[in-house]
Amino acid sequence: MMYWNTWSDFFAMGGYALYVWGSIIVVAGFMVAEIILVRLRRKTVLRQIAAIGAPRTRRST
């Protein structure tokens, strides 16, 4: 199934390496960054909730 003869052929992309890999790296980079950002957002809000929730539960018990 392998279309390329050698791995260096694959990385060269027929002379269009800059354009093809430049697309892939930036798309992958944005997706990874978005995943990291959204996880940080969740951590932040969970920390806020823990901060406001903790004293109240202590009072109620």
């Binding site: 199934m1 392998m2 279309y3 390329w4 694959f10 992309m13 027929g14 002379g15 269009y16 800059l18 354009y19 093809v20 430049g22 697309s23 892939i24 930036v26 798309v27 944005f30 997706m31 978005e34 995943i35 959204v38 957002r41 969740r42 809000v45 969970l46 806020q48 909730i49 406001i52 929730g53 109240r56 539960t57």
Partner: protein, 261 residues
């Protein structure tokens, strides 16, 4: 009163199997459902990406006109489709939130915007990297590219406007207006290659005729489109859960859930 009723803030009505959709309009029910869906959708996204990229880069042949530069299509077209589709979905939820004052709808619209903006930018970026070797220009002010750039500004405008208003319900309403006015731009992007003489090529697949590309190329592109769909669903549900928690911090169900959130 049962605990099920107390957990359902939209109505005190009896729990019934018939009102599935409205059930998830309640942020706490949505939060649970999304939490259960995210792992599955994530697995689907990863698998589709692996298969799609494999077909695109190891199975699909080199294009006889564009050489291997055409392989950008496996990211460019799915990203461009998502940029338009997410906008429509965002406008749909925003309109629902505006019309019925349902909080969860507006939260979904807010959750979609950053991902839509990202795909719009990526469509423009991959387009520039494709345009340079095929047209000799990173950018031209043709109808397709310009209307896609306007889409990016609409997303940014939606997010900036929402961020600038402290009262979240008013921010939702203002954002919904931008989202709805901007919907007019989506068909303009889509049909721009037919309505005007553009440097951008016409669509490779449409409803009227057979696709003008090799089967493996088309297959790789469609699988990548599905992969981006799954990615969008997973990340949007995840972000929507964050928004639910941010807005519902003071509510009883969040406090009651505590560590289990």
């Amino acid at each position: 009163m049962t605990t099920a009723n107390m957990n359902n803030p939209i109505s005190g009505a009896k729990e019934s199997n018939r009102f599935h959709w409205f059930k998830y309009a309640a942020p706490n029910n949505f939060y649970d459902l999304a939490g259960r869906l995210i792992p599955w959708v994530t697995v689907i996204a990863v698998l589709l990406t692996i298969v799609g990229m494999y077909i695109g880069f190891f199975v699909a042949p080199t294009d006889f006109q564009q050489g291997d530069a055409y392989r950008i299509i496996f990211l460019h077209v799915p990203a461009a489709w998502m940029s338009m589709f997410i906008y429509m979905v965002m406008a749909f939820w925003a309109a629902l939130g505006l019309a019925f004052n349902t909080r969860m709808s507006s939260m979904m619209a807010s959750a979609l915007a950053p991902t839509g903006a990202m795909f719009t930018f990526l469509a423009l970026w991959t387009g520039a990297l494709w345009g340079r070797p095929t047209w000799g220009a990173w950018w031209v002010w043709d109808a397709r590219l310009t209307s896609e750039l306007i889409l990016l500004f609409l997303y940014i405008g939606f997010m900036a406007l929402q961020a600038s208003i402290d009262d979240v319900r008013r921010a939702d309403k203002a954002g919904a207006l931008i989202a709805l006015v901007g919907v007019i731009n989506v068909p303009i992007i889509y049909f721009s290659v037919q309505w005007w003489n553009t440097l951008h090529q016409g669509s490779s697949i449409n409803m009227k005729s057979a696709p003008t590309m090799a089967k493996t190329m088309l297959l790789g592109m469609l699988i990548m489109a599905l992969a981006f769909w799954a990615y969008t669903i997973a990340i949007t549900l995840y972000r929507a859960r964050c928004i639910v928690l941010e807005r519902e911090q003071q509510s009883d169900w969040v406090k009651a859930a505590g560590e289990k959130l």
